[in-house]
Amino acid sequence: MKQNGKKKILVVDDSEMVRNFHSYIIKMFGYQVGTAENGAVALEKLLAGDYQLLVTDINMPKMDGYELIRNVQEQGIHIPIIIVSTEEEYKPGCAGAELGSGIHMVKPTDPGKLVATIKMLL
């Protein structure tokens, strides 16, 4: 079984299906995974736990992905971020995009690309 150094990754998406899909792909490579259904829950978990990477959606209720990223930065949590969203949601120059701290990937997620990106960042 792959162990991958027991690194922990937080997967954030309001769709349970997407959360499960992303978690599943990541677990295939031995990483540990936590999940959150919106930015607010995610921020709580990030502050509480030792996560090494964040994979987040943009369009979510309560706290969206951009607000989450802004909060993560304000709280001084320095971890790599992968934004997984539809093409329309991610517009260069829109609110939050200037934060520039994330690598953007387009839904539907290409599992190979997601894992390659994670390996590159961790």
Binding site: K2, G5, V18
Partner: protein, 485 residues
């Protein structure tokens, strides 16, 4: 039905319920909040449907989303036609969901596909006719299927393998695992055959129950390296048949986590035993030796218990038990051994070690990389990237195909060795073949810069290392992690 699919259906059905309520409210009275909510729901369903492989539902929701986007931006007038198109789209999606849950006749499906494309056209026509500005809707190009794009590559590579992957029974979803396997295939060689077609991934039908993937792979890499690229969780067993060989071996390579882990334990036990018989003769039984031996027997028993199908390894178990008996007898009767007897026992342990080693090589703890003349470093880099470092102790670079190692390559090799060491993985060199002396000299000459352990073969290396305390600690730690995860 896999749990991932179950989650998708439940979630989508719930969203559909909410979407319908929105449309009912919108039918009575315009509300920006409801349009936004409906847009968001369509958007979510679109995303998860594509991910689940249900492009039919995803595409239809995409169309509805486009229409609602225009409406909320006031690019088209929101009126009864929009409401009616939404109702039709939702109704079709609902039927499609029912079909995913409980497949009906092919006629039902084709009726639904017709309905979907009709709605699709209607929405498209409606947008074109009513759009106030000239903004063009995004047209999605269908991707070429993953299998055909791999099959279209020119077959290349000196080895041809027939590989069967067995997915764990309780894996929540099978297709993403297949996708990851195929991704690795693309990285290391070319696909010649696949037991699943493109359609499997586009999800037109829920071909559920498929738990195995068979492929024929052409690649330059050696069988022992293959496992590194296919070490994916949820893959229960891998069966590799080397088709470039003229005939099949009796026990063709068969990789199963449980079996391999048991062999890891047996190997560890043997390696602990071996140094006992290296001591100066005459051999005398001591308390410490007795403790090691009792430990050895306990661990071996436990490991053999875990192997389900004893038949496959019967000969191995028999030989192992014989050695075990002999050693127990020596200690029970407390008789000394002369050098010849000692060396005899060493040989027996070495032989068993070799057999246990052969079963885990490339899969756990030890792996071997065989460089070829060209592109040696780049291929090694990819290999190391794929490698699961926490369960690897040692990487052997088997240089028998090399006639020379260039200075630039040596520098890179040193870098790789140091990076691996930082992650507690050792890199050693196996030197064998016609250029042994030359390669040895190269590693000798850089000894002051970076020392490389050089061995004549892998078994010698493993046995030599068994005598180092540090190695045996590391071995225990990794075995613990692998065994008790």
């Amino acid at each position: 039905m896999d749990t991932m699919l179950e989650t998708y259906l439940e979630e989508t059905e719930e969203l559909m319920q909410r979407a319908e309520e929105c449309v009912i409210r919108l039918e009575m009275e315009y509300s920006a909040a409801d349009i936004n909510e409906l847009f968001r729901i369509a958007h979510t369903i679109k995303g998860s449907s594509h991910m689940a492989g249900f492009e039919d539902i995803g595409n239809l929701m995409h169309k509805m989303e486009d229409m609602l986007d225009y409406a909320r931006k006031d690019a088209i007038q929101f009126d009864q036609s929009v409401v009616s198109l939404c109702f039709q789209a939702l109704d079709t999606v609902k039927q499609m969901l029912g079909y995913k849950r409980d497949p009906g006749t092919p006629e039902d499906m084709s009726r639904l596909v017709d309905a979907a494309s009709r709605i699709d056209e209607m929405v498209g026509a409606f947008i074109r006719a009513n759009k106030k500005d000239e903004k063009k809707a995004v047209v999605q190009q269908p991707d070429t299927g993953i299998i055909s794009s791999l099959l279209n590559k020119k077959p290349k590579g000196k080895n041809r393998y027939y590989i069967t992957f067995f997915i764990e029974e309780d894996a929540p979803m099978v297709s993403p695992v297949f996708m990851m396997i195929l991704k690795s295939v693309g990285d290391i060689g070319s696909l010649v055959y696949s037991s699943v077609p493109d359609e499997y991934f586009s999800g037109g039908s829920v071909a559920d129950g498929v738990k195995t993937l068979e492929i024929i792979l052409d690649t330059d890499i050696d069988e022992v390296e293959l496992y590194t690229y296919f070490a994916i969780n949820y893959v229960d067993r891998i069966n590799v048949v080397d088709l470039s060989r003229s005939r099949l071996l009796e026990n063709d390579v068969y990789f199963n986590h449980t079996h391999s882990i048991s062999h890891v334990i047996i190997l560890k036990a043997l390696l602990k035993l071996y140094p006992l018989f290296l001591k100066a003769s005459p051999y005398e039984t001591t308390k410490e030796a007795l403790a090691v031996i009792q430990d050895f027997q306990r661990e071996a028993d436990r490991a053999f218990d875990r192997i389900e199908n004893h038949k496959r390894i019967d000969a191995f178990v028999q030989d192992f038990n014989q050695l075990n008996l002999l050693i127990t007898k020596i200690h029970q009767d407390n008789f000394g051994l002369d050098e010849r007897q000692c060396s005899n026992i060493r040989t027996q342990i070495a032989k068993l070690t070799e057999r246990a080693y052969a079963r885990i090589r490339g899969k756990y703890l030890f792996t071997t990389f065989k460089p070829e003349k060209d592109g040696f470093i780049n291929r090694l880099k990819t290999f190391v990237e794929f490698m699961d470092k926490p369960s690897t102790l040692m990487v052997f670079i088997d240089t028998r195909e090399l006639s020379i190692i260039r200075e630039k390559e040596i520098k890179e090799l040193i870098g790789i060795k140091r990076r691996l060491e930082a992650q507690d993985v050792e890199l050693a060199v196996i030197v064998d073949g016609p250029y042994t002396r030359r390669i040895m000299n190269i590693f000798d000459s850089i000894g002051s810069l970076q020392e490389f352990k050089v061995y004549g073969n892998e078994l010698d290396a493993v046995l030599a290392m068994s005598q180092s305390e540090e190695f045996s600690h590391k071995l225990s730690r990794v075995v613990k992690e692998v065994y008790y995860e």
